[in-house]
Amino acid sequence: MGHILTAGQKTPDATGKTATGAPLSRLDPRTRILAAVTFAIVTVGCSWIPVLLAALAVAAGLAVLSGLPVGPTLRRMAAMDGFIVFLIALLPFTTPGDPLVTIWGVTASRQGLMLAIDILLTANAVVLALLALVGSMEPVTLGHALHRLRMPEALVHLMMFTIRYVEVLHAEYLRLRQAMKARGFRPSTDWHSLRSLGYLVGMVLVRAVDRSERVLGAMKCRGFSGRLPLLHAYAYGPRDAAFAAVLGAALLALCLAEVSHGAA
């Protein structure tokens, strides 16, 4: 996924979450996580195209409110679409149903096309809402909020360590890579490149374990007792209630539209 990361946005620590002052950033982080999950479940549950278009519009509205940078966000969505286009492009041809067009003797069905559009819209709506609601918060805040939402403590700690050291190890990786470049390494499709990159990966892992031993030593030295205090105390406020009411009403409307279409 390196191709969608620009120089300033290499790791979760720097993915454009300086969106202070944006309306969504004043909500309780737990509200935003729960909203993203609810939105995802409702959207995945719907399959009528107009409903999915409305869901995508809701997600776009959330993205505007979150203050995410437009360019990088669209680039991420395009990268994801490029990923799945291969998968869904085949669907019209492999789903049985009313014939639509025939290409090279293979018939595309209308049902298959609808299914492909369904998946495309669902995936984009959910990812956009997720980036807007959760992706726009500080990774550390995400860890604290998940802890308050009863994610197991060990998993939260594991995640906090990962968030912290992705940045550090990425810098280390870039240093090693630069050293290779200085010695004239240019990656291509040959045994030498694969072996060199393999050694690079091995070295990053070895250094990671060495580093973790020093980290553990330093933590013990400071009396690490097995618990990291998570200081943030969160409180739901009137803003959260208002947001939950508006989003809840929108999602309920989507559900009702879906059900009424299914009944008709």
Partner: protein
């Protein structure tokens, strides 16, 4: 390789989530607090390694390295790779939210299988033998991952079967790349720091 929201049938999504939750719970039992820093830093290392692009002819692939993750982390690969996938979904928009369970299972279960199949090779104490098993593990993990992705898609509807088979064959070059690269990484680690393959394992 990530599956997105909306592509799978509900029973597949729920089943995947339940199995992934079980795997994560089991993995956390192998992680007493003493080992969490090591697991967290290694999880970050695999996250960084997945940013490496290897050229294949005019195109390039990014690494997954779940076989290597299994060799190093054992059962802890489940929580570690879950954290990686969660961060990728939330901050990069890769994969999806409801399919997180299925994606975790597709990446982490092969890692655990490779851990069991190849661990004797790691114990041999010979870097060449370790590298050989590392290569086998690297290729096997990708093969199993594509097979699991294909299975999840096929269970969700027969229309995906052709796509699933194509995904599998399209990943054969990736298997070769991952096998050779994992073998080289294991060879280096086995010479420089053989402990790497045992730090996170053993009785908790």
């Amino acid at each position: 390789m990530h599956i997105v929201d909306g592509a799978l049938a509900n029973p597949v999504v729920l089943g995947g989530a339940a199995l992934a939750a079980g795997g994560i719970a089991l993995g956390l039992r192998y992680l007493p607090l003493e080992r969490i820093p090591a697991a967290g830093v290694l999880s970050a290392a695999f996250f960084v390694a997945s940013l490496i692009h290897v050229p294949i002819g005019p195109s390039s692939v990014h690494l997954i390295l779940n076989g290597l993750a299994g060799l190093v982390l054992g059962w802890a690969a489940f929580p570690a790779l879950f954290v990686g996938l969660l961060l990728q979904a939330v901050f990069f928009g890769f994969g999806g939210l409801t399919v997180l369970g299925v994606n975790t299972l597709a990446i982490a279960l092969p890692a655990v299988i490779v851990h069991y199949l190849c661990r004797s090779g790691m114990r041999a104490g010979n870097p060449v033998i370790a590298a050989l098993w590392g290569g086998i593990g690297g290729a096997l993990a990708i093969a199993l991952t594509t097979a699991l992705v294909g299975l999840a898609l096929t269970l969700s509807g027969g229309a995906f079967f052709l796509a699933a088979r194509l995904v599998f064959f399209a990943h054969i070059p990736v298997m070769v790349v991952e096998a050779l690269l994992s073998a080289a990484a294991v060879y280096l680690a086995a010479r420089v720091k053989p402990d790497l393959f045992f730090t996170l394992k053993g009785a908790s």
